[in-house]
């Protein structure tokens, strides 16, 4: 329809609006992607490399550090994303209630963490979660734990700390998407459900979640991509330690490229593992979302 109406000059005008973006995307996105795909089949150090076929892929399977980074990254993904999405949804539903008092305060408070700078929040978490720090002190004061937890020194608790940190930072961000989408849900549906005797919990699972499915899918994919690329937090709070227990794929790529003797080919291969994971997981999420709607 619109296509037929566009004249020749309009076609040209259309291109001029998007041309600057397309040129930049071509240079800084498309070209690097193709380049890195080609690189992942090259072996060698620094700028001396030659074609190695599948040598890098074989190396992946034999590299214990890569496997640890992969398992860590997937652990963060599987544990953190569902918790965060659930918390964000519950907060959004609670805040969408027009009878709720102090709505503005609660909304701003829960959104506030994602306004902080990355560096502020990793520093804060590092100091709050010290062994003698405020968090252990508070947990001991309310009798949740008896002994201080070694958040930064224990491989298990270091992972938990990273999960807490990301959840703190991003829950409010996801909540805003749900709050915005909830504005479009007609309140009379809830009225009808209440008259039919549906409990709040039933309303949540049978009305809210299905209605918000497109947004939930969108935020889940965005969060999956974000978690698979996890770098800033682990580099600043735990430096990947203790003993690689919080090493992620992105941090490993960074180490391979900029800390050790650079092997661009191998690090490009590791980065394509992330691309593949994102592609497979996004696809799965789409399929699951479609199945549920039937």
């Amino acid at each position: 329809m619109a296509n037929a109406r566009l004249g020749r000059t309009e076609q040209i005008t259309g291109w001029t609006f998007i041309a600057p973006a397309l040129v930049l995307l071509g240079i800084f996105m498309l070209y690097p992607i193709l380049w890195s795909l080609w690189m992942s089949f090259q072996v060698g150090k620094g700028m001396n490399f030659n074609f190695g076929g599948f040598a890098n892929i074989v190396r992946l399977t034999k590299d214990p550090v890569f496997i640890r980074a992969l398992v860590n990254t997937l652990t963060f993904l599987v544990v953190q994303v569902p918790i965060m999405i659930m918390l964000a949804l519950l907060a959004a539903v609670a805040l969408n209630d027009p009878k709720l008092r102090f709505r503005g305060f609660f909304r701003t408070a829960i959104f506030l963490p994602c306004v902080t700078s990355l560096i502020a929040y990793s520093t804060l978490f590092k100091s709050m979660f010290a062994t003698d720090g405020i968090v252990n002190k508070m947990l001991m004061a309310v009798w949740i734990i008896q002994e201080p937890i070694h958040w930064l020194q224990d491989p298990f608790w270091a992972k938990i700390l990273i999960i807490i940190a990301i959840t703190w930072r991003w829950t409010g961000y996801n909540m805003v998407f749900y709050l915005a989408a909830l504005q479009n849900v007609d309140r009379s549906i809830y009225e009808a459900a209440r008259i039919d005797g549906a409990s709040g919990w039933q309303q949540f699972w049978q009305i809210t979640v299905p209605m918000l499915k497109p947004v939930i899918l969108f935020t889940t994919i965005i969060s999956t991509i974000g978690t698979l690329q996890l770098f800033d937090e682990v580099n600043n709070i735990t430096q990947g330690g203790p003993s690689d227990s919080t090493l992620t794929l992105s941090l490993y790529i960074y180490n391979l490229t900029f800390k050790f003797m650079p092997s661009f080919g191998y690090s490009a291969t590791v980065s394509w593992v992330i691309v593949l994971l994102v592609a497979v997981l996004s696809f799965l999420q789409f399929v699951i979302a479609r199945d549920r709607s039937k």
């Binding site: 566009l6 890195s36 009878k99 560096i119 520093t123 978490f125 100091s127 709050m128 770098f231 994102v278």
Partner: protein, 290 residues
């Protein structure tokens, strides 16, 4: 406003007719308790940051949560350790240039994709959405090699250029443009404005909320950007506040009092922008999701 007033009125009527119900009261109390807990957890680190900046590093390490008297000493240490004006200027300059260019290029593209549709451009748009799922880690190495071959390592251009055409922001503007009233555009055409004039004189002022939300998102992303500047900024005098303060924490005995003072300064700009544009931010998000 009106849709908020209505449920309030019915609830008042309900309250008058209905007798006190215990389960409802318990559920409400639990809801407020959980929301208060969430608010506490969200805000506490900010409180901790301010308190920490007034304490000695030792006291922060043992979890002292009351105000101390070290604020000026921490401030003095901070200004003595880092070249504060320079690093904040570097951060501000990169964030401002990045934000202005990203908004200009990406909003033009978002508008263009929505207003001038053609089959070919729709295909390009679909391809772009697919590229959105490619993580930065995959681009980092080739980008770095490319930037070094352009001899751009250590320049603002190196930091800013790769992010200007943001697929996410283009997508966001295209979604928001769907709400731009077609009558406004038609009227402007009748008045003899050309397409670029329509964009600058009609679209820009109408879409203020959309731009405000985008400014918050893009400014925060640029101000907080860490990994890419860490890679391409190699000279000490070019480092941003984020990079320098981050390097302070990785020393063996970090002076947390001083560092927390620095983090307050590093957080202020994004906080200020958020509170200035907060109302427009919510409106802008609503516009894009609808």
């Amino acid at each position: 406003m009106t849709d908020q007033a209505l449920p309030l009125a019915t609830s008042r009527a309900e309250r008058r007719t209905r007798s006190f119900n215990l389960p409802g009261f318990v559920a409400r109390t639990i809801k407020y308790l959980l929301l208060s807990l969430a608010a506490f957890v969200s805000i506490f680190p900010f409180f901790w940051m301010v308190v920490g900046a007034t304490n000695r590093s030792v006291d922060i390490g043992i979890g002292k949560a009351t105000f101390g008297d070290q604020l000026f000493i921490n401030a003095a240490n901070f200004f003595a350790t880092v070249d504060a004006p320079r690093i904040f200027w570097n951060s501000a300059f990169i964030a401002l240039v990045g934000t202005v260019l990203t908004l200009a290029i990406s909003s033009l593209a978002g508008y263009g994709f929505e207003m001038f549709r053609s089959k070919f451009r729709e295909r390009i748009f679909t391809l772009m959405l697919l590229l959105l799922s490619i993580p930065f880690a995959a681009l980092m190495v080739p980008l770095f090699v490319m930037i070094s071959s352009f001899k751009l390592v250590g320049t603002v251009a190196a930091v800013v250029l790769p992010g200007i055409a943001s697929i996410f922001i283009i997508f966001y503007f295209r979604q928001a443009t769907k709400a731009f009233p077609g009558e406004l555009r038609d009227a402007a055409r009748v008045d003899g404005l050309n397409e670029w004039q329509i964009f600058f004189y009609i679209y820009l002022p109408t879409m203020r909320s959309t731009y405000a939300a985008a400014i918050i998102i893009v400014f925060m992303a640029n101000w907080n950007n860490y990994l890419w500047p860490l890679i391409v900024l190699n000279k000490p005098e070019q480092k941003t506040a984020t990079l320098v303060i981050s390097s302070l924490t990785s020393s063996y005995t970090p002076d947390f009092g001083m560092i927390l003072f620095g983090t307050i300064l590093a957080t202020l700009p994004t906080l200020i922008i958020f509170f200035l544009l907060q109302r427009r931010f919510v409106e802008g998000m609503l516009g894009a999701v609808k």
